[in-house]
Symmetry: C2
Subunit: 350 residues, 2 copies
C-alpha cells in the first residue's frame, strides 16, 4: 500500500462511525491488514471492479449509488457461495474529473453497504490515473468447512428458483438510455429502486444453506439465461425454464410495455409484442445481483418457507433436467432452445 | 466476477503450468474462490494497483516487467508483515490501446512472480475501460498467530537496517527520463536489474522473523526517509541515520555521478555535489520494495548471519532513538533533521 500515511488517514475517515470488523487484528495503517480466520471455516474470496462508462454512468447513477452497487456485486458473489462477508479491500483509480468529495461518497456508500452485510473495509489503495474512474473491491468471507455452494452439484429433477426480479437492471438501462439526454426519470420507480439499492441475499443464502437443500447456486449478474448456462455447464445437466413462471411485477411489465411502444414508434406500424420484450428482459443480459438456485425437490418447501418468513421474493421458475439442453417452455406450451446469445438484445456493455 | 465463462477460461490459461496453490478448495471458475486457512495462523491481506503513466511507463518497462513489479509491490507488503504469500486476485481495466497479448504477458509475469514466492492466483476480473490501463492485485498470506510484524514496536537503541539498495528505483526514473525520448539505456545495468526484477524479501523476512529479534518493519516503497517517518510515527520513537553507512554500490554511485553531471550541464558552471545526489537517491522517494527493520540489539548478529547465509544485502544504517526527532548524521559528523519532503527531489509521480 503506497502512500501509507495519507492512505491510512483516508481509510480511517472512511470507516469512522462504522462497526469495526470482527477478527481484525491490524486494520488500515500498516503494510497489510492482519485478520483472524474463524476455526472450522473456509475462506471465500472474490473481486469485482466498477469502471465508469462500463459498469456505471454518472448521468444515471450518483457516486454513492455506484458505491452501493460495487458492494452489492461483490456481496452477491459471496451469497452465491453461502458465505458470510467479513473483510474488504477497496482500491480506486481516480482521474482529475472526479472530486475528492465524489470519491468519498462512493467509498462511504460502499463501506456502509458492506457493513450492513457484516463486512469491514480493512485496507485499500488510492491512485490517480487518466481516463475512466475505476473502483476495485476484493471481498473476503467465510463459510463452514466444505459447505460452500458451488455451480456444480445440480441434479436432474432439482427445482430451479430465483430471487427478486431479474431483468430489472436491463430495463433500467434500456429505458434510461432512450433519447437524449439519458434519464432515469422514465424508468418505473420500483425498477430504479432495485437497481440503485439491490437487496443483499447474503442472509437468505445463509438461512437456506443451513437446511442442506441447495445443491448448486450462481449469482445472476450476467442475466438469467447466461447464468443458467454457466450453472448447467458446471453441473453437467440441462434445464427447463417456464416462461409463465418468470418473476415480473407490475414495474417490470410497465418497463416492457414502454420498450415495446418505443420500438413500435421506431420500427413503424407493427409494434413488437410486449410479452416478447418482457421475456427478453427476464432472461437476457442484466446484472441484478440475485441468486439462481438448484434445490433438491425435498428441500423446496423449507426454502420457500424461509423466503416467506424473511420477505424474500423466491420464484420457482423451472427444473434441472438430464442431458445438456436448456429449453424455455413458452406460455403456449411448446419448448424452444434457451440460447443465451438470443437474449442479449439490450446488452450495451454497461 | 462478471463474464464468468470467459473469465475462468482466461484465468485457467493464465495459471496453466504454474503450481496450483495449496489450500485452494475451489479455484477460478465459480462465483468466488474457496480457500482453506491453516490452523493457528492469522491471515494477512494487502492490495496494490499499478496504473499506466503513474506506476509504470510503457516506454520504460515491458508489460511483463510491469507484471513482475506489480507482484513485487504486493509481495513486499507481505514480507514487511513476516507473512507467507498464499493466494491472489488479479483485476485488470484495459483500454483499447492494449492488446490481449500484452495483457497476457503482464498477467503471466505477475502470476510467475507470485508463484515463485508461493502464491497462486485464484480469481480475478477483466473489464474494458477508456484511458489508462490499470492492474489491481489483492494478495493474501498468513503468519503464525500474533506474530505479524508491525510498524509499531520499535524501541530506543534498536538497530535500524535495510535490505538491498534503496534509491535504485528513483535513479532509474531520473536517468531514464532525461532527454527525449526517455530511455533506460543510460541507466547502469545493475540499477535496471533491481527495478525490473526486484528480489522478493519474503523468505528472508520469514527466516529472521523466526529469531524473534525484529521489533518493527516497513516496506520501503515511498523511500527510506518517508518510510522511516511512518515507522517512527507508529512506534512513537525517533531515529538516527548515518549517511556514511547508507547502502550504495558502484551502480548507484554511477547513477548519482551521471545525475550530478547532468544537473551541472543544466545549471551552469557549478555542478552539484555527487555525494549530495547519492544521498538524495538513497533517502528520497523511491519504490524499491525493500525492507526497513528495527532489530533488538541482541538480535542483530543472528539477522546479519542469516542475511549472509541467504546472500541478502542487509545494511545497518542507524538506530532508533527516544523522542520523535529523525536525524541524519552526515559523513562530516554533524546532525541535521531528516525531513522527508526535503528528499523528494526526484519525485515525479511515477
Amino acid at each position: 500500500m503506497p502512500e501509507p500515511g495519507s492512505e491510512s488517514a483516508r481509510i480511517a475517515a472512511l470507516i469512522s462511525g462504522l462497526p469495526s470488523g470482527e477478527g481484525v487484528i491490524v486494520g488500515p495503517g500498516d503494510d497489510a491488514a492482519v485478520l483472524r480466520p474463524r476455526e472450522g471455516r473456509d475462506l471465500v474470496a472474490t473481486t469485482d471492479a466498477f469502471v465508469e462508462g462500463r459498469h456505471f454512468r454518472r448521468d444515471l447513477l450518483t457516486s454513492a449509488e455506484a458505491g452501493v452497487r460495487l458492494a452489492a456485486a461483490n456481496l452477491s458473489d459471496l451469497a452465491a457461495m453461502a458465505a458470510e462477508p467479513r473483510w474488504a479491500l477497496l482500491s480506486l483509480v481516480v482521474p482529475t474529473s472526479w472530486t475528492q468529495a465524489e470519491c468519498q461518497l462512493l467509498e462511504r456508500a460502499c463501506a456502509r453497504t458492506l457493513a450492513a452485510a457484516g463486512a469491514a473495509i480493512v485496507g485499500g489503495n488510492l491512485a490517480s490515473g487518466e481516463g475512466a474512474f475505476s473502483a476495485t473491491l476484493a471481498l473476503l468471507g467465510d463459510v463452514e468447512r466444505d459447505r460452500a455452494w458451488k455451480r456444480s452439484g445440480a441434479k436432474p429433477g432439482d427445482v430451479l428458483a430465483v430471487t427478486g426480479v431479474p431483468g430489472s437492471a436491463a430495463a433500467f438501462l434500456a429505458l434510461a438510455l432512450w433519447g437524449n439526454p439519458p434519464s432515469r426519470a422514465r424508468v418505473p420507480h420500483d425498477v430504479v429502486e432495485r437497481v440503485v439499492a439491490p437487496v443483499s441475499r447474503v442472509q437468505f443464502a445463509r438461512s437456506i444453506a443451513a437446511t442442506g437443500g441447495v445443491r448448486a447456486a450462481i449469482d445472476v449478474s450476467d442475466g438469467l439465461a447466461a447464468d443458467l448456462a454457466h450453472l448447467c455447464a458446471a453441473s453437467g445437466v440441462g434445464a427447463r425454464i417456464d416462461e409463465g413462471s418468470l418473476p415480473g411485477d407490475e414495474a417490470l411489465r410497465a418497463a416492457a410495455r414502454a420498450l415495446s411502444a418505443h420500438a413500435g414508434q421506431e420500427r413503424g406500424p407493427l409494434p413488437a409484442a410486449e410479452g416478447e420484450f418482457l421475456t427478453r428482459l427476464q432472461l437476457g443480459a442484466s446484472d441484478d445481483y440475485e441468486l439462481l438456485l438448484a434445490i433438491a425437490p425435498a428441500g423446496w418447501a423449507d426454502c420457500e418457507r424461509i423466503a416467506q418468513a424473511q420477505g424474500v421474493p423466491l420464484t420457482r421458475v423451472g427444473e434441472i433436467r438430464a442431458g445438456d439442453e436448456r429449453v424455455l417452455r413458452t406460455t403456449s406450451g411448446d419448448e424452444r432452445a434457451l440460447d443465451e446469445p438470443g437474449w442479449d438484445h439490450f446488452r450495451n456493455g454497461s
